[in-house]
């Protein structure tokens, strides 16, 4: 029986190929082995990229406007008090095993994420759901006490413990995506292996040779399969950008991010320069100051250092990817972003002002200033930036800067326990709202606040903004918060806003997803 089925499949495939020409295959580089394809567990961009193709969320993001758009949920509504959110799901979505995608599976997924036994790193983003934190932290909560409920097969309701205007974007995140309950229960941790997995997205997992490659096939059970044009996606897992670049030029890859070292050539060679695409990304690169470590406990010192960084030269000579100099933290494209350059918030490169700030702080021409430690995690790219910035400090302020690098995990531990005077860090958006930035990073209670920034006025502003529903009021609150963070207190020195720097073969018709999770189902490959 199985053989006949297989023969049928092969027949269909052959007919398909004869009818439409060749099978359209996209050759893609994931960059690394996805640590897990379990949506409840993943935290990294690689896994999330693949999950985007395999699992549908209640909502999704539009690549252009970054607005929340329907996916599994056709529409949704919030109660008057903003605490109850109801999502109405489409009834034609089915899993690759033929069973329907239901609201019960959403409920299961949310509770599984929160179950302490699952060990989900991202569970905390769901703590705004009523009873979630208590269950997740084993503070007397139970799975039944979590505010998520399948009202019927295609309606799911969330109860929150505080109003959150950004909740629809949370509801679409991987940690909330419906799961094939019976498969998860049957295989345990191994349910995501190619031979076990059942999915509901535009693509299904055909082959997963660990650490080597992964093949995704167009899923016949996807509700919108008629509009999916690329038949299969062959994913390599090449870690070295230079190797990937070489393969791209040899025609083995359809898209890659060129390494910095090749940027001059990419721009100079006509063929490559036409294939180059640069667009804003949703990340900010910044240098934090430890606000408690002398002499950086003095705002004037911090202002001096923030003003001494020649951001434009850094971009032109080191980064070469058309990045934008940053003076504020939240990046453009995020609700609540403030254009620091236009509004005069934050400190641009100004050597004279920098010297003046340092003199005002009591160190004219750097005299008597102690040696400064600038730390970054070990990486070629960060090292280049650190060397450039340190040189800027030394030239402008006449101070001595020691660059220290630490291996990633150690670096994180150092920053958490007692950050060095100057540390490098980056932040990328999980969802396009400034709450994800100014509140989740620099609230004095945040675990990511390595700067030890502590200003009650700031905390009050960002907490008020989280609860506020009027967009205009929120915008104003975020502007005040950015002004405190990057101007008045100058707790950090934002350096630049990232860009997507990408090479794609001209025959690939594609979109760009700034929030991660490319929409392969919208792409096409032209005959070539």
């Amino acid at each position: 029986m199985k053989k006949i089925w297989l023969l049928g499949l092969i027949f269909t495939l052959i007919v398909g190929v004869m009818a439409f020409g060749q099978v359209k295959t996209l050759y893609w580089n994931l960059g690394t082995e996805p640590p897990s394809l379990d949506p409840n567990i993943s935290t990294d961009t690689t896994s999330i990229q693949v999950e985007q193709a395999l699992f549908l969320g209640l909502t999704d993001f539009d690549d252009e406007t970054m607005a929340v758009v329907p996916e599994l949920a056709t529409h949704w509504e919030a109660s008057e008090d903003g605490l109850t959110w109801t999502f109405y799901m489409r009834d034609d979505a089915i899993w690759t095993d033929g069973t329907p995608v239901t609201a019960h599976q959403v409920e299961y997924s949310v509770k599984r994420t929160l179950d302490p036994a699952t060990g989900s790193s991202y569970a905390y983003v769901l703590w705004i759901i009523d009873g979630a934190k208590e269950f997740n932290n084993e503070e007397g909560g139970t799975a039944d006490g979590v505010g998520v409920k399948a009202v019927d097969d295609y309606t799911v309701q969330f109860t929150l413990n505080q109003p959150a205007g950004y909740f629809p974007s949370i509801a679409g995140m991987w940690v909330c995506r419906p799961l094939p309950v019976s498969v998860v229960e049957k295989y345990g941790d191994a349910w995501t292996e190619a031979e076990n997995i059942v999915t509901n997205g535009p693509y299904e997992l055909g082959e997963w040779v660990h650490e080597d490659h992964m093949i995704l096939y167009k899923s016949a059970t996807y509700y919108d399969v008629a509009n999916v044009k690329i038949d299969q996606i062959y994913c390599y897992m090449i870690e070295e950008a230079s190797t990937a670049m070489t393969m791209y030029e040899a025609g083995n890859l359809d898209s890659t991010s060129p390494p910095l070292e090749d940027m001059d050539r990419v721009k100079a060679v006509p063929v490559l320069s036409k294939e180059l695409y640069i667009a804003p990304d949703l990340c900010t690169y910044y240098y934090g100051f430890n606000n408690e470590k002398p002499p950086f406990d003095n705002p004037l010192v911090r202002k001096a250092f923030a003003s001494a960084i020649d951001r434009q030269s850094l971009i032109d000579y080191v980064l070469k990817g058309g990045q934008k100099p940053a003076q504020t933290f939240t990046c453009p494209g995020i609700f609540g972003h403030v254009d620091g350059v236009a509004e005069g918030i934050g400190y641009p490169y100004n050597p004279e002002a920098a010297k003046q700030f340092l003199a005002d702080a009591g160190y004219p021409n750097g005299e008597g200033f102690p040696e400064v430690t600038l730390m970054h995690n070990t990486s070629e790219g960060h090292s280049k930036i650190a060397q450039f910035v340190a040189q800027s400090f030394m030239d402008t302020l006449n101070v001595k800067v020691n660059i220290v690098n630490q291996e990633w995990k150690v670096y994180l531990a150092t920053c958490r326990e007692d950050a060095p005077q100057i540390y490098r860090m980056g932040w990328c958006a999980d969802y396009p709202d400034a709450n994800n930035w100014v509140n989740e990073v620099f609230n004095s209670k945040s675990g990511s606040n390595y700067a030890n920034y502590n200003n009650p006025a700031y905390d009050a502003l960002v907490e008020q903004a989280a609860k506020e529903t009027d967009p205009a009021v929120r915008l104003d609150l975020y502007k005040q918060a950015e002004t405190l963070l990057c101007d008045t207190d100058c707790a950090i020195a934002p350096i630049y806003f990232y860009t997507i720097v990408n090479l794609t073969k001209p025959y690939v018709v594609r979109t760009y997803a700034p929030l991660g999770g490319e929409h392969w189902e919208q792409w096409d490959i032209l005959p070539h």
Binding site: A241, D262, T378, E380, F388, E407
Partner: protein, 319 residues
């Protein structure tokens, strides 16, 4: 007393023998053309490394970011790297790191091996047995895996700034050496096994020799025995063994710097330069070519010299 004096005289008469061994070895070494070439290159490298301040046209951190990836020209013969620093100058300073790894690495592993081997050989019996079993076990420990773990440990635990503590002192010392201290320690810890075995074997055989019996009979102290009798006899084989290991130490440093566990930037190391260069190999081939050439020539020279030294000390084994 009279007895001891006679033994001492006997020792003195014996003394010329090792010296003539040395003279023979030197003579043989000088006749070996390949070794002379190797020795000449090593000697030049040492001069270059010591005199880097005067020889290099620029400092190793000197340069302007404007000049990044500058192609080779009359003022920068090998071009500039990503920071606009002169590649030739960085290569010249980089010789310091490689040679330091070669010599200090050899020295630390030599010291650890000699002490361990001597102790084991002299104490003998159960202690010797246990110590040698430990060496056997450690031979099964994959060296590269151990050195990676060690370097991650050193780099992380000692990268703090804590003036006044031992940790702070070590980390400060390492920083002032551009990250080389822990490379030396890492090489030392992982490369002493062969030396320990060799020294222990030599110690045992020397111990049985007649003049040692004599020395013991007159009650010469153990330390004296070691320094007067054991050392001169084992020095030759030890030098041969270390000379043959030196290319390995240079490779360790390059390996560690290549995977980012070596020197701290901006200290120039050929391994680190190779790593920086090979990423951009397709655009700037000179950045990978020159460090590769430098490291290959150095290894070439040390290999020739090592072969020569071995042949000189042990002429029967013409390999």
């Amino acid at each position: 007393m009279g007895m001891e004096r006679r033994v001492r005289r006997a020792e003195k008469q014996k003394a010329p023998k090792p010296r003539s061994l040395w003279r023979d070895a030197m003579r043989r070494l000088i006749r070996n053309k390949a070794a002379i070439v190797g020795g000449f290159i090593v000697f030049s490298l040492v001069i270059v490394a010591i005199g880097a301040n005067w020889i290099a046209p620029y400092g190793y951190t000197e340069g302007h970011i404007r000049d990044n990836y500058l192609a080779p020209n009359s003022s920068h013969l090998m071009g500039c790297d990503f920071m606009g620093r002169d590649v030739l100058s960085r290569l010249i300073y980089g010789a310091r790191v490689s040679l330091a790894a070669a010599f200090v690495g050899a020295l630390t592993s030599f010291l650890i091996g000699v002490i361990y081997g001597l102790v084991s050989g002299f104490l003998g019996g159960k202690v010797d047995n246990a110590m040698m079993r430990f060496v056997d076990i450690m031979f099964a420990f994959p060296t590269l895996l151990l050195i990676i773990l060690l370097m991650v440990y050193f780099k992380s635990t000692f990268s703090v700034i804590e003036p006044g503590t031992f940790r702070g002192f070590l980390s400060g010392l390492d920083r002032s050496m551009g990250g080389m201290l822990f490379i030396f320690i890492g090489i030392g810890i992982t490369s002493w096994l062969g030396m320990a075995r060799l020294i222990r074997g030599m110690t045992l055989s020397v111990r049985e020799k007649e003049y040692m019996e004599a020395a013991r009979a007159i009650g010469a102290s153990r330390t004296r025995q070691v320094f007067r009798h054991v050392f001169p006899n084992i020095l030759g084989p030890a030098i041969v063994s270390q000379a043959l290991q030196i290319p390995g130490f240079i490779l360790y440093e390059a390996f560690l710097s290549f995977i980012g566990l070596g020197v701290n930037p901006p200290t120039p190391s050929w391994g680190a330069m190779l790593n920086e260069g090979y990423i951009g190999m397709r655009s700037h081939f000179n950045l990978v070519l020159w460090p590769a050439v430098a490291i290959s020539i150095t290894l070439f020279a040390f290999n020739f010299l090592g072969d020569g030294v071995r042949d000189a000390f042990d002429p029967r084994q013409t390999r």
